[in-house]
């Protein structure tokens, strides 16, 4: 059973990476002793270029891959040791939410909610959550075939909300969204934070990361090269830092 958010104490560590390392079979070191903690009611943004190790980190939390060394923990549960138990406490929104194209938005919500162990939701619950994420009512009973990326993304976040897990993993959730949809999404994350959720978000979007995150980590070639709290950064600082590390990455690559 998913532990209720209300039972989480303030500042309790929900997501934790402890010297998390992943070396693939082809020898590529995707993640090198990554460590961070995310507490309840906290949003952590991982910034970095493609191949920096952001998605690998999320995959390790979801146990899609096993770490070479170190541990990823969700509320103290080591994900590769007790994956099913850990996943009960995780919700996930991918970069490009596709869902089942022949199902309506509500049918998709119903399936994934039940898959996440929530069997008592009614149609009204689904309607409410879809309205909450900003999906207009006339779209609720339409098949996902005709949905835009923004609409599908809203369904994805609705599924994550329905799961009511203490931790949410977001893999580049705002990529491809128009400015309005991006803004609405940020508002939604803010609401979820205020409900006590811990959010780990991988993104390329420096400004949104700065706008919403409590902590920003910059990753480069599998390493966490910088980590700073929101109060420590101005927009300008973050952009400069990011460009600096990316330039370093480019030089290293050259």
């Amino acid at each position: 059973m998913t532990e209720s958010i209300n039972s989480l104490s303030e500042n309790q560590v929900v997501l934790e990476a402890d010297k998390l390392t992943k070396r693939y079979e082809d020898g590529v070191l995707a993640l090198d002793a990554l460590s961070f903690t995310i507490k309840s009611s906290e949003i952590y943004a991982m910034l970095g270029a493609n191949g920096a190790g952001k998605t690998t980190t999320i995959n390790l939390f979801l146990n899609f891959i096993e770490p070479t060394s170190g541990e990823a923990r969700v509320m103290g549960i080591v994900t590769h040791k007790e994956p099913l138990l850990a996943k009960e406490k995780l919700a996930f929104v991918s970069e490009n939410v596709m869902l089942y194209q022949n199902f309506t938005a509500i049918q998709n919500l119903d399936y994934f909610a039940k898959l996440g162990g929530k069997k008592n939701y009614t149609r009204d619950d689904y309607r409410d959550v879809l309205l909450r994420v900003g999906l207009q009512e006339e779209a609720h009973n339409k098949r996902l075939k005709g949905f835009s990326k923004g609409m599908r993304q809203k369904c994805g976040i609705a599924i994550a909300i329905l799961k009511d897990a203490p931790a949410i993993l977001l893999d580049e959730p705002t990529s491809g969204l128009d400015p309005k949809a991006g803004y609405e999404f940020i508002q939604l994350l803010d609401n979820l934070r205020s409900e006590g959720k811990s959010i780990l978000m991988s993104t390329h979007d420096i400004f949104r990361a700065r706008e919403i995150s409590d902590t920003v980590g910059i990753m480069n070639q599998g390493k966490l090269v910088m980590q700073a709290g929101r109060d420590e950064l101005t927009d300008k600082d973050l952009e400069q830092l990011y460009m600096k590390y990316m330039a370093g990455h480019m030089e290293a690559a050259a």
Partner: protein, 484 residues
């Protein structure tokens, strides 16, 4: 959890436009196969009855039973044989029996109506073999890798879903999603049988049901294979391509290749070559016969000259000796030829059986061939049909011979010519025509249910085995599948 995944799979497949279109076409084909099968059966029955009546009519004016010796018997159409034709149209359906020599089976239906050999009827076995396999591939080629491509696999496994449950649910759901709708036209077709006045025995119903269960097993093979391939390949387009190649091999290449390989591995002597060897043997025997006759005659002449007795009595005794010698020699050579030809035929038969066995064993690598073997065995249209018809005709020939003996007092082959030459007899009153109703009727006895089942069970078991193997392979491949 399992139920949820099964229902999701059912809903996803049945709700797709692809399914609606394919299901519509399949339903039409299945119902059409039943309809044409039933129509063919009625036509076959009509032709069968007409042939029997015509056969009896030719004896209506006959006044002597001796004329009934040359009779024709017909292979009656059977309902299941009309649904699964097998070899029934490729073998002759008429045999000539004369109560003495071996029955002679006439040419096949296709030799008379060759257009049907070019454009064969669409029977149920063909529809199931082609449609069910393609149907399974079309809906399961992207069962796993397609979900990965669409991103739903990652989303599903972001929840606490055991992999075993997921793959079992997926396989079960896909199977039910394809089987349940396909059973609808099949049941409609089955209902058409009594509605269109086809009477079937309990044994025939049982065989039909087992045939349908076998077709579902056949569908299961391609379904589990498709899921397995979708676990092995990263892209759904790759798994589709591989499955298409496997389908072509299974349905088109292996069955034909098996016959070619068996034909090259086990050479069966032709009937002409046996006839040629028989002629050679007879020629050789004839020379030997002449030589031995001459030797004997010369020996006898020398003996007679030595004795110097030329009385009539002695001449008769010598003639009797010559007759006896010739008779013994003729019997000896006849037996030799008979034994030699018998051996050749037996050898040919054994080689045919070996060739057939080899071809079938190789073809069993293909689920499509297995299904063909199972369905034709269950519906009584396998390669054994010709032998069964032949044996039935031979057995009828014996009973006809006994009947003629009862009526005339003579065995066939020893009937005196007077029996056929009515004018040579002094007619006291005009002879009465024979009662054709008394002629024993030929009834083709299809094999018993237990016999058919025993013959089909090994192939059904292999179909089950294929299902289990591909199921386990899918299961194991998915446990190691990269979900990213």
């Amino acid at each position: 959890m399992l139920k949820l995944i099964i229902f999701k799979e059912l809903r996803e497949i049945i709700g797709s436009a692809k399914f609606v279109a394919t299901f519509g076409v399949c339903s039409i084909l299945i119902i059409m196969a039943f309809y044409t099968g039933i129509k063919n059966y009625h036509t076959g029955i009509q032709e069968y009855n007409d042939s029997k009546t015509a056969q009896l009519q030719q004896f209506e004016t006959v006044t002597e039973w001796g004329y009934v010796t040359s009779n024709k018997v017909f292979l009656s159409p059977e309902p299941l044989a009309c649904l699964v034709m097998g070899v029934s149209n490729d073998i002759g359906r008429t045999a000539t029996v004369d109560g003495g020599s071996l029955p002679f089976i006439d040419e096949s239906t296709y030799s008379e109506q060759s257009v049907f050999a070019v454009f064969r009827f669409l029977d149920l076995e063909f529809v199931f073999q082609i449609i069910f396999s393609l149907f399974a591939i079309l809906f399961a080629f992207d069962a796993v890798n397609g979900e990965k491509e669409r991103g739903t696999l990652r989303l599903s496994f972001a929840n606490s879903v055991p992999r075993a449950n997921y793959i079992i649910g997926k396989l079960t759901g896909s199977f039910l999603a394809l089987v349940v709708p396909l059973l609808i036209p099949v049941l409609i077709g089955m209902a058409m049988l009594p509605l269109m006045e086809i009477s079937m025995t309990n044994s025939e119903w049982a065989r039909l049901v087992i045939f349908i269960v076998s077709s579902l097993l056949y569908l299961g093979v391609f379904l589990t294979l498709s899921v397995f391939m979708s676990c092995l390949t990263k892209r759904s387009s790759s798994s589709f391509l591989f499955l298409l190649v496997i389908w072509v091999f299974s349905v088109l290449i292996i069955p034909r290749a098996s016959v070619l390989i068996a034909g090259n591995s086990v050479e069966v002597p032709s009937l002409n070559s046996i006839l040629f060897q028989q002629n050679q043997m007879e020629e050789k025997n004839s020379l030997e016969y002449s030589k031995r006759s001459n030797e004997f005659f010369q020996k006898l002449m020398l003996e007679r000259a030595k004795n110097g007795n030329n009385s009539q009595e002695t001449a008769d005794s010598y003639m009797a000796k010559i007759r006896n010698f010739h008779e013994k020699l003729r019997v000896e050579y006849d037996q030799k030829v008979e034994a030699f030809v018998g051996r050749l035929y037996e050898e040919r038969h054994n080689k045919q059986i070996a060739q057939q066995r080899l071809a079938f064993n190789i073809s069993r690598l293909s689920p499509a061939s297995l299904f063909t073997l199972v369905s034709s065995t269950l519906c009584g249209t396998s390669i054994d049909l010709k032998n069964q018809f032949y044996e039935n005709a031979a057995s009828y020939s014996k009973s006809l011979a006994e009947f003629i003996k009862d009526k005339t007092g003579y065995t066939i082959g020893t009937l005196p010519m007077s029996l056929f030459n009515q004018n040579s007899q002094v007619q006291k009153k005009p002879p009465e025509p024979i009662d054709t109703g008394e002629i024993p009727e030929f009834m083709y006895q299809s094999p018993e249910l237990s016999t058919v089942l025993n013959a089909a069970l090994p192939d059904i078991a292999i179909l089950v085995l294929f299902n289990l193997i591909f199921f386990c392979c899918s299961f194991l491949a998915f446990l190691r599948y990269d979900l990213r």
